[in-house]
């Protein structure tokens, strides 16, 4: 059993705290993805686990054994680096067998294990080549091969796909998922790409400023984000966050008035809030639909940008008036800065939608898929199973952070 436990792990560089009191339990053979925006400390956390950075406080246990004072090579942990870090003057076989050579494993045994790993990664015919003769994807495979040939208990990945082009990234994502099934190792994977997180992880850890915002399965994170940050970070296009005011609370339901004249009753636990409190209503672009609503929870959207992606179309619009101003802003390239602003709404519809630019369309909101966040940004608990029928959205796009909140 090679579970990985972090207990109150902190890393400080001088006055800067990169990782703050992280507690994390990772089960044997689990695939854990650590996500967060740039500078959230995710790479530092990985390097602390690897032993390349000494932790400031806390403990790290692999398979129940404390390893935080053990040299990196003796922790039973291997690491795949972002830019591969292959030894340029060694052949592929030399690269993959280096750790075994350092561990004084006999030659024939090294050869057997290198060939075995190469077979798993389908790089058997590259073993005699030098890294510079390989493509990016092949180098990545060699780097992974070098990590797994040692038969480590834990494999760490530091944004391993970020240097590959989009198509290759998708292929390697599938490869890694397959690899995870075929070797007996726990995997910890760091990325800023939420698509990689959603598609590969058994468990996602969302990190911000060195602290864990939420830990959970991809579906939990998607359907039950713990706070506004997680809600905005996971999902693409990012969740619409609209300021509102609590109108009334009932048992398991909160009625909210949202900018644009919409009144909506959302199923949520009304713990700690009362009528008149400011709240944030979150609704994912894919949970909105074009068309009138017989029950009346709909509002008018003035569309000002349409992004047809083929299979789906993304509409950017504004709840109610001032369409002219928005277009000017978009032309000036400032749209991104304001997207997510109080009255801006993003809707994802099917590809065949016949909406035209500058058109006013009715947008339907289903209360069951809405999220509510209190003044501090903490989610009001949703009833179990809320929204779970919606398939997760996995479009690769870097979401921006909380711009709308600042602009409000």
């Amino acid at each position: 059993m090679a579970d990985l436990n972090l207990r109150r792990v902190s890393k400080r560089f001088g006055d800067v705290t990169a990782v703050a009191e992280i507690d994390l339990e990772i089960a044997h053979r689990e695939f854990v993805v650590i996500v967060g925006p740039s500078g959230c400390g995710k790479s530092t956390l990985l390097r602390v686990i690897a032993g390349l950075e000494e932790l400031t406080t806390g403990e790290i246990h692999v398979g129940g054994e404390p390893v935080h004072r053990t040299p990196p090579a003796k922790r039973g942990i291997a690491m795949v680096f972002q830019n591969y870090a292959l030894y340029p003057h060694k052949t592929v076989a030399g690269n993959m067998g280096f750790a075994l050579r350092m561990a004084k494993v006999p030659g024939p045994e090294i050869e057997r294990r290198v060939i075995e790993a190469a077979r798993i990664l389908q790089i058997e015919d590259l073993l005699e080549r030098k890294p510079r003769q390989l493509s990016g994807g092949q180098r990545q495979r060699v780097a992974i091969g070098r990590a797994i040939v040692r038969e480590p208990k834990v494999v760490l990945f530091d944004e391993p796909l970020s240097n590959l082009d989009a198509a290759l990234r998708v292929d390697m994502r599938v490869e890694l998922a397959r690899l995870h099934g075929s070797i007996d190792a726990t995997m910890v994977y760091v990325t800023h790409d939420q698509t990689e997180a959603m598609t590969m992880a058994d468990k996602i850890v969302v990190l911000r400023e060195g602290r864990i915002e939420q830990v959970g399965s991809p579906m939990t994170i998607y359907h039950h984000p713990a706070n506004v940050f997680v809600a905005g970070f996971i999902g693409s296009p990012r969740m619409n966050l609209l300021p509102g005011t609590v109108r009334a609370t009932a048992d398991g339901a909160v009625t909210v008035d949202v900018a644009g004249g919409l009144r909506i009753t959302v199923p949520a636990e009304a713990t700690g809030i009362a009528a008149g409190d400011p709240v944030t209503l979150g609704v994912r672009p894919e949970d909105l639909a074009i068309g009138p609503d017989p029950q009346g929870t709909a509002f008018d959207l003035d569309v000002y940008v349409i992004e047809p992606l083929g299979g789906e179309t993304i509409l950017y619009g504004q709840i109610g008036g001032q369409i002219e101003e928005r277009i000017e802003e978009h032309d000036a390239g400032r749209l991104e800065d304001r997207a997510g602003g109080a009255r801006t709404l993003v809707v994802k519809t099917q590809g065949g939608a016949t909406v035209r630019n500058r058109q006013r369309v009715p947008v339907r909101v289903v209360p069951e898929v809405c999220h509510l966040f209190d003044r501090a940004g903490v989610a009001l608990p949703r009833p179990a199973g809320a929204g779970d029928v919606t398939p997760p959205e996995t479009e690769a796009e870097e979401p921006e952070r909380m711009q709308g909140e600042k602009l409000r």
């Binding site: 390349l52 090579a73 972002q82 830019n83 292959l86 340029p88 280096f98 750790a99 070098r146």
Partner: protein, 290 residues
């Protein structure tokens, strides 16, 4: 467009070379420049190659002046670069200071360097003798630049002192371009400091070492200044090298023809080195550019 420059260069390179080649087949004397030399065929070369003195000059140039000083500079340069690149020095905040200090010998012109060293190594009032005697390491002063046992090590010391900074700085630049994640990958793979040096650092530095070695050989092999200023090829002709031999034969013995033939031998040896350089270094650079 390049034609005028080409002809210009061809003239100023070609004419002296050809003139020197012709002179090497004559008995031209510095005292008879107007009369000109008489064509004597290969007699200068025969005399040169059959002279025992010449082999000593040859050995001095190849072994002492070039091989010893180049190897020493490569080894010391690498060691010093590793030291300067070490975390310890950085932790003590000495990195900048030590790098500035390193530049002092390099900023010293060779002539000044040799003159200063001649004072330091002086057999009567020299600082080195004073210091060694003060420490009780030697009983009587050593004439460093006149004693055949120590004269070559002394000259090599001057050369190394004066030109080591360039080597060190070049290696230091090479060391700083070693990707840190390569070191880290090796650390994760279980390589200790020594193994990391041989498996990561040295291979990364190897191209720099090769180029540096070739350049040092070029610069040292035909160097005249250090030997001439330090010992004047003495004591006697004990430290005579090819470059000083040319000067002595031409301008002290007035045998310009013979001196020219020494020059041609030297040029031929340099041409071989040039070929090596071109084959291993320049060609690769060309390929990278094209």
């Amino acid at each position: 467009m390049l034609a005028p420059i080409f002809f210009f260069l061809a003239f100023f390179y070609g004419y002296p070379t050809l003139s020197n080649l012709y002179n090497s087949f004559t008995d031209l004397s510095l005292l008879g420049l107007k009369r000109g030399g008489e064509f004597i065929g290969l007699r200068n070369y025969v005399e040169l190659l059959s002279s025992r003195d010449f082999y000593r000059v040859f050995w001095n140039t190849l072994f002492w002046l070039t091989a010893v000083s180049v190897v020493l500079r490569l080894v010391l340069g690498l060691a010093l670069a590793l030291l300067l690149n070490s975390m310890t020095l950085r932790r003590w905040r000495l990195a900048t200071v030590s790098r500035l200090l390193l530049l002092v010998p390099w900023a010293t012109p060779p002539i000044v360097a040799v003159v200063v060293w001649r004072w330091l190594l002086d057999g009567r009032q020299g600082f080195v003798n004073g210091a060694l005697q003060g420490l009780g390491l030697i009983d009587r002063p050593i004439a460093f630049l006149a004693n055949v046992d120590v004269v070559w090590p002394s000259i090599v010391t001057i050369i190394v002192w004066n030109t080591l900074p360039l080597v060190t700085l070049t290696f230091l630049a090479g060391l700083q371009s070693v990707p840190p994640e390569l070191e880290e990958a090796a650390e994760m793979d279980g390589a200790g400091a020594v193994q990391r040096f041989f498996h990561v650092t040295l291979p990364h530095l190897m191209p720099t070492v090769v180029v540096m070695a070739l350049l040092l050989v070029f610069w040292t092999f035909n160097n005249f200044v250090y030997v001439w200023l330090a010992t004047g090829a003495g004591p006697g002709l004990f430290t005579n090298v090819l470059a000083t031999e040319i000067y002595i034969k031409g301008f002290i013995d007035f045998e310009l023809g013979y001196s020219s033939s020494v020059g041609m031998v030297m040029a031929a040896l340099m041409a071989v080195l040039g070929l090596v350089y071109f084959r291993f270094v320049a060609l690769r650079e060309f390929r990278e550019i094209l």
